[in-house]
Amino acid sequence: MTEHVKPVPPTWCPGCGDFGVLASIKKSLSDLKVPLEETVLIGGIGCSGGIHNFMDGYGFHSLHGRLLANAVGVKLANPKLTVIAAGGDGDGYAIGMGHFIHALKKNVSLVYVVMMNETYGLTKGQASPTAPVGYRGNVESPFDAVLTALSIPSASFIARGFSGDPKGAAQLLTEALKFNRERKGFAFVEMLSPCVTYNDTYKLWREKVQNVTSVAGYDAADRSRAFSTCLEIMEAGRIPIGMIYRAPEDRRLPSLDQTVLPTLEKAPATTDISLATNLPRYQKLVDALT
């Protein structure tokens, strides 16, 4: 047996919400029996972004905010891989905002997990884009990723979990992973994951979270309804969680990986690039030049 890299113990503060997220990811990967060598976990930069170091499989540590661009590259190079991008809210919604919106738009079959703690944990607690007004002098109104994801026409899997509810979180992740492995498109899961050191919201959030299913007649297949319900819940001072939106099959747009790589076998990373195989076709290209 070849000796391999072993996961290191998490470097998070005891009690950090990210432990719950890690556990959920591990559980859903093993529930779905995703082969180790097909698992790619791409971490952002931040406390949360170290997550790939604490897991088995292929791990990739991105630059701050660029994890989704890396993930798109990985998946389009080899669509057989199960690619999970996981990072912080600073990473994803501040410096990474452009890529976030474009990932929703591109609709590549990835799972994107944001560990949302309203703060930049690793740089010592500055306000992140989701920080409430007043947190460390913040005067900007917080960004709500679920609302914005709903505004992107191709977004077809939008969920929010709470690491204080590990069972619910793992369920959402398992759904996201299934969606992903069926190449249905981009699955976005925001995880409320409190930073116990700089912004300990466990208690507050436990009180505030409200699963959308608690709203009578909620229909996760209705985008407008999802938007207005989330707004209402937020205006009531609560946080909508659960399976917020899942496009019905007849309205789901095809994933980009499915569109550009219709078969799983022939892809940039796995196709035969040897000269022997390709020479006749290359020669044709060259001969066509005038």
């Binding site: 630059l63 660029r66 060259v286 030049l289």
Partner: protein, 615 residues
Amino acid sequence: MPRREGPFTDLAFLAMATTPEAHTLVPASGEQLGSSRPAAPVLHDVSVMIGGQGGDGTLTVSDLLAHYFRTRGLYVYTSRNVLSRIRGGHADASMRASVEPTWSQKWKEDLVVAFDDEAARIGQNHLVSGGILLGDQGQVKVSGERVHVLPLSVTAASKVGNGLFKNTVAYGALSLIMGLDAASARAVISARFGRRGGDALERNLKAFDLGRQLALDQIGKDPLLTVEDGAAKDHILTTGNQACALGFVVGGGRFFAGYPITPATPIMEALQRYLPQFDGVVRQAEDELAAINMTMGAAYAGARAMTATSGPGLSLMTEGIGHAGEAEIPIVVVDCQRVGPSTGEPTRHEQSDLLHVVFSSHGEFPRFVLAPGDAQDTFDLTVTALNLAEKWQLPVILLLDQALSENAQTGPRFDLSRVRIDRGKLLTARDIEGMAVYKRYEFTPDGISPRAVPGTPGGEGQTTGNEHDEWGHVSVNRENRRKMMAKRMGRLELARPDLPPPRFFGDEKARIGLIGFGSTYGPIREAQRLLKKEGVATRFYQARTLWPVPVDSLQAFLESVDVAYVVEHNYMGQLKMLIQQYLPSPKLRSIRKYDGDSFFAEEIVGEVRRSGGTP
């Protein structure tokens, strides 16, 4: 197409340059070179400039002529002078065809086609004395003995149904004036418009015939000049960008992500056509940050991957290139240089990114910087770049420039027999089974760690831009840091034998040296020919590896000459700076140009002559 503004006005400003070797670029006398030759009935080196407003289709005329002369066995070089706008504003294109090899612009134009008066006036300044001006009636006001005004646009509008066909009408007129073979000239139109569908071909052929008839009616059946046929019949007409795209495909490149930017976009557009046929993927990203990071993702996953951009995009890729260096991800980044800094002059030529690509990004990591000189070289070095990136597991930057990227030139068909694929220490599942331990960043004598890509059972591991131990886990251990720095940076030394050697041209015994990179290849080689005719022997060192600086070959070269002119398109003399950091030789001199145009061979000749070139 470049313009000479009367006497070279650089002088005063060059004198203010920070380096002391500022030179003017004035050839002894421009007129001597061009105007002494009256319009000859038979030319073996001709240049035609077509000028008008953006959108007038000047590039099409240049392209049709270029293909005509290519099929007649001549060497062809085209250049352009366009604004960064879609319609309007002066634009011109120039087509040179020569029996002798050429990869640069001719000093004076033999024939000018002007679609408006501004173009006519500009064109007149660049005409050889005795040169011909063909103008569009109603637009062009200039007059003179050798000015011929034909109703190009009126004919196009009234008889082809759209004034835009005036360019093909002009091509038809030229075909007569220049004594082109009508059938061959029409064949070029068919080749270009045949696949378009609709009535494009038909209408263009009609426009051609109308133009030819116009010339026949108004100028007469005798050509005003004719051009000798050449011997290079099997050449192709291509650009550096086209060569790069093809080299990428043939070199096994299968993933490309880019963002539109002049003059790099054609590489992406060519690959959009090619790659899907080979299970490859091309993505237009949301910006250059995404482009380089998608490229890195794909390369990490095992695809040969590349991105291409120009200055502004390159600056945005700075952080990503460093990440590839630290994480040891094999990527190729093509920089099609244009006039900087900032947005600069998007459509114009420069070579001022050299020090940036060598030194940019915070911290220190190994990278290779390669620069091809012509299209064939670009094809070869793109393949080489892909091999080097994977073998040495680092970012390779391929430095092109606007002239090389966009100006079409003739040359031999790309040679597939030279292509090799070397994926370096890329592990299969079976390889790993046989290993006692697999560490992604294992210390090895050559500084290269075996690499497994996702999907390979047993190859699981960590890839990271943090400083890391052999396993890829974060480390701030001091000894590990020193070893990792040495592992990475040491490759700059160890890889030397693998890096593209310079090419040498000219007389091995010459005491006058010329050093250049990129598209100056063309004007330098032609300057050598001109100097040789004057009895001045020169030797040209075409630098193809720019980083790490090829100290040994440069040193030998400097020892072999009495003076070495470093010819480059930037203000500071960047290649010279880079060389003299290692080889502070008093023999080094600088010939620079940074006004957006590429060199004329005559400028280099003039400079060598002026500064007492002969040793």
